[in-house]
């Protein structure tokens, strides 16, 4: 007996939303098997990975803290992805956002007014990220260079640039030669939402960005134009929607959002710029955008899930003696199973009858 895939007459809407849930379930099963094969008690392992991080208020706050950059970057990417603009370099744009806002914080070092400092750093972060995204946008619209490759390669340039800054001109003179900048003064730090935790104002900014993303993508005419450009290029040209503008808007929005996320990290939990400013948020956000179906509410939920994977990885490191890359394994499984389950949106399994 053979199984074969048969095209569905119509894409299944139920499957479109069930697919991320199926992927989560399969990821948990996969985790169970991995713990088992590593000789750990799988129930205990899953418990530590998925439940222990949320056991107290501090843990929940950490969940929101880590979800913040993911949601911010993912909503920005979703704007481009819906129009088939494939910005893979959010990681680099995030770093340039962090660099730009750090620049402001260091230049006005010691200014204590948050009302002055934070808006300036926010704008600087957005501009920094957008400038880094401007390079692939320009090369795409001018020379039709592939934005996937250009934006991805710029990530490595951004990483080296950050290294150069913190090893060189921006190194804290009193930092015992560690590669890091001076710690920001209070005026350059985001206010906390809950005392005793690390979750800060950036989470509210992320929620606001999700709301703005919803209005832009679902209700605005320009969002509609971008959707048409992604679905049917010839129809967009026929209707007179500029394909170049779609590339610009798609990349710059993603870059600006990633830049703001970078600002939130240096002005939040980090309080300074170091080479480890990103925990691969820029890449993980790509998974978040897809698991969330490029939809703002979906992205919020997916960013919480992905954040949990980060926290679970830290717990597993601490209590199960596993390497922290276990987080990446879970992330990878999630994306893999999602892509697998997505096949069934457009296809169904059929048993092949012998001819």
């Amino acid at each position: 007996m053979w199984l074969e895939l048969e095209a569905r007459p119509e894409a299944s809407n139920a499957m479109r939303y069930a697919s991320p849930l199926i992927a989560v379930v399969l990821m948990v099963i996969g985790g169970f098997l991995i713990f088992l094969s590593l000789g750990r008690d799988p129930i205990l392992g899953l418990n530590i990975f998925f439940l222990k991080p949320l056991a107290d208020m501090y843990g929940v706050a950490e969940l929101l803290l880590k979800a913040t950059p993911l949601a911010l970057i993912a909503i920005g990417l979703a704007v481009g992805f819906r129009a088939n603009v494939w910005n893979i370099g959010a990681e680099g744009q995030y770093m340039l956002g962090a660099v730009a806002s750090t620049g402001v914080a260091l230049y006005f070092y010691g200014v204590e007014s948050k009302w002055l400092m934070l808006p300036m750093m926010l704008v600087a972060g957005a501009i920094g990220g957008a400038l880094w995204a401007l390079i692939p946008a320009f090369l795409k619209t001018r020379f039709n260079a592939n934005e996937i490759l250009v934006s991805l390669m710029l990530v490595y340039i951004a990483k080296l640039f950050v290294s150069w800054l913190v090893f060189g001109p921006w190194k804290d003179p009193e930092g015992f030669n560690f590669p890091q900048t001076k710690t920001f003064t209070d005026g350059a730090l985001l206010p906390l939402l809950v005392e005793g935790t690390r979750v800060n104002l950036a989470f509210v900014i992320a929620l606001f960005a999700l709301g703005a993303g919803y209005v832009f993508m679902q209700r605005s005419f320009y969002g509609f134009q971008m959707m048409v450009a992604g679905e049917a290029e010839a129809a967009a040209r026929y209707a007179g929607f500029s394909a170049k503008r779609v590339v610009w808007v798609g990349l710059l929005t993603g870059g600006a959002a990633a830049g703001i996320a970078g600002m939130a990290e240096v002005a939040g939990p980090m309080g300074q710029l170091t080479p480890n400013v990103s925990a691969n948020y820029g890449f993980a956000a790509i998974i978040v955008a897809f698991v969330g179906r490029l939809n703002p509410i979906g992205i919020l939920l997916a960013s919480l899930l992905m954040s949990l994977l980060y926290l679970g990885g830290e717990q597993a490191q601490q209590y199960l003696n596993l390497p922290s890359s276990i987080s990446l394994v879970f992330q990878g499984m999630l994306l893999f199973f999602l892509l697998g389950a997505d096949v069934f949106i457009n296809f169904r399994v059929k048993r092949r009858v012998a001819a």
Binding site: S220, F221, A235, G240
Partner: protein, 522 residues
């Protein structure tokens, strides 16, 4: 050709049924083709003709039913298998590589690595015998559409088929080339080769075919001898009712010029595209102007230049409603009062996955569907709803995705969307291409009504009958040049046919002038 016992059919189909996930494409079809018979398969779009031919040629397999080939029951496994038992097919859309020569293209379809020189002489022999002149060493991109079709036919004939399937072969030919093709087909038939001739053109079938099997909705609705029928009686078999006729009134002259092309030249971006050369045309309010021509002679490029999908480097060659619009994008041309219906409906005229309501928004957004940059969903749905009603679009309502509609219904929707914006100028490409007869008549009438209300209409079509039915004036496009216009009442199919091969009075000197004067402008 091997002799069959007297009275044995070449091909016999019994109870052929093909079920796709959403439709039953063929439902119990019987068909018998005798040796040497030219057998018409007649039906509207979606009647199941193509599916049936694909089953015979082994592209797809029937769900039920049996095929008997020269007295033996067969399962045709693949096109290669079909060719090996003596079935050849010429598709409507050619499968030739433009950058290869004729003989290389033919060699690609043969098993093994044939000797090209030997193959070339065989091609020459066959093409001479059947009156299909082809130079085997020419590159395909330099051939006209008619010549390409000859290559496809010769490619089939090299395998000595005993059954040849022709899918809508005349849609790309001038009337004169159709004559030549018919001679070849008759010669083949006299040698004993059976021909399945797929078409929806009744007059051609009457002239050429011995027998016709008529399909409607996947079923056989009748078998007839075309020479003993009238086009009317065959149409009734094909669509189940009489052919509708359009109402046309006399031309009111002296309308304002709403579209002017003055010396439009454009070098195509596509290396195998057609360059437009020094095109002049005026379209006035209150008239329908038709542009005839064999496909691939610059129609696509001309349309893009007029619609703004490929803006020009200069302003003056395209003037829309009195404004020089050559460099404008499509959106700005719309604002001047131009509507446009492209030939590809899915993917260009409409976004396949999106609802009809969203597809209304695509071009009609200036009709009160936007409030400060946000979409007014109620206004958008209302416009779609009214369009569906006014143009009798059969669909599941404004929320139905565009791709769920049949070609004819989607075309009615697109046409309705453009016409309901009351354009001063409407440019339409292939208005009834792939549309069933009933919807086609509706669409033609809608164009005539628009003209009667004082709009200017430009129609570019490869269907001569259609142009003669609706147009006030006609011109012909050939090799990127446009002929002068002529009143439709003062010309006829023969004259337009000659013009379609590029030979209108003064064409030679115009070409020479243009070549001397106009450099290629990108």
């Amino acid at each position: 050709m091997t002799k069959l016992p007297e009275g044995t059919p070449r091909l016999q189909l019994r109870g052929i049924r093909k079920v796709y996930p959403t439709v039953v494409a063929n439902d119990g079809i019987d068909l018998t083709a005798m040796p040497g018979e030219i057998h018409a398969v007649l039906g509207e779009n979606g009647a199941g003709k193509s599916t049936l031919m694909k089953i015979i040629y082994g592209v797809t397999r029937p769900t039920e039913g049996e095929i008997t080939w020269e007295g033996n029951r067969v399962h045709v496994e693949s096109p290669a298998h079909a060719r090996s038992i003596g079935i050849g097919m010429v598709f409507q859309h050619f499968s030739l590589f433009e950058t290869l020569t004729v003989v290389e293209n033919v060699a690609l379809g043969l098993p093994g690595a044939p000797d090209l020189n030997y193959l070339a002489t065989r091609i020459e022999k066959v093409s001479e015998k059947y009156g299909l002149p082809v130079d085997p060493r020419r590159l395909v991109h330099a051939l006209s559409v008619g010549e390409r079709q000859r290559v496809e036919i010769v490619r089939c004939l090299l395998q000595n088929p005993r059954l040849l399937i022709m899918d809508e072969p005349t849609s790309v030919l001038t009337p004169q080339a159709v004559r030549k093709l018919f001679e070849t087909l008759r010669f083949l038939s006299s040698e004993g080769c059976s021909i399945l001739y797929i078409s929806h053109k009744l007059d051609e079938i009457q002239e050429l075919c011995h027998v016709a099997t008529v399909l409607r909705g996947g079923k056989v609705t009748g078998t007839c001898i075309p020479s003993k029928e009238t086009p009317k009686s065959m149409a009734r078999l094909m669509i189940g009712k009489d052919l509708p006729v359009c109402q046309h009134s006399a031309l009111k002259e002296g309308g304002k010029v709403l579209l002017r092309l003055s010396g439009l030249s454009h070098a195509s971006d596509d290396p195998f595209g057609t360059d437009l050369k020094d095109i002049h045309l005026d379209v006035h309010a209150g008239e329908i102007v038709g542009i005839a021509g064999v496909s691939g002679n610059g129609q696509q490029e001309l349309l893009r230049a007029i619609s703004g999908e490929e803006p020009h480097a200069e302003k003056h060659p395209v003037q829309v409603c009195g404004t020089e619009a050559g460099r404008m994008m499509p959106g700005r041309r719309r604002k001047l009062g131009m509507g446009f219906v492209p030939e590809e409906r899915l993917g260009r005229g409409a976004v396949p996955k999106l609802s009809l309501a969203y597809n209304a928004l695509l071009t009609a957004h200036q009709r009160g569907m936007l409030k400060r940059g946000l979409i007014d969903f109620d206004a958008m749905k209302l416009f779609a709803h009214d369009t569906i009603k006014a143009f009798d679009v059969r669909c599941g309502g404004p929320n139905a995705p565009a791709k769920s509609l049949s070609g004819g219904n989607l075309q009615k929707f697109i046409m309705g969307r453009e016409i309901r914006q009351s354009p001063k100028l409407l440019v339409v490409a292939q208005p009834t291409w792939g549309v069933d007869v009933g919807a086609a008549a509706f669409i033609r009438q809608a164009l005539i009504d628009l003209r009667n209300e004082g709009s200017a209409v430009l129609v570019i079509s490869e269907e001569l009958d259609e142009l003669f039915e609706i147009c006030d004036r006609m011109a012909v496009i050939a090799k990127g040049r446009l002929s002068p216009t002529k009143l439709a009442a003062e010309t006829n199919v023969e004259e337009i046919g000659v013009w379609m091969s590029g030979m209108w009075p003064g064409a030679e000197s115009a070409a020479a002038n243009a070549a001397a004067k106009v450099p290629h402008v990108a």
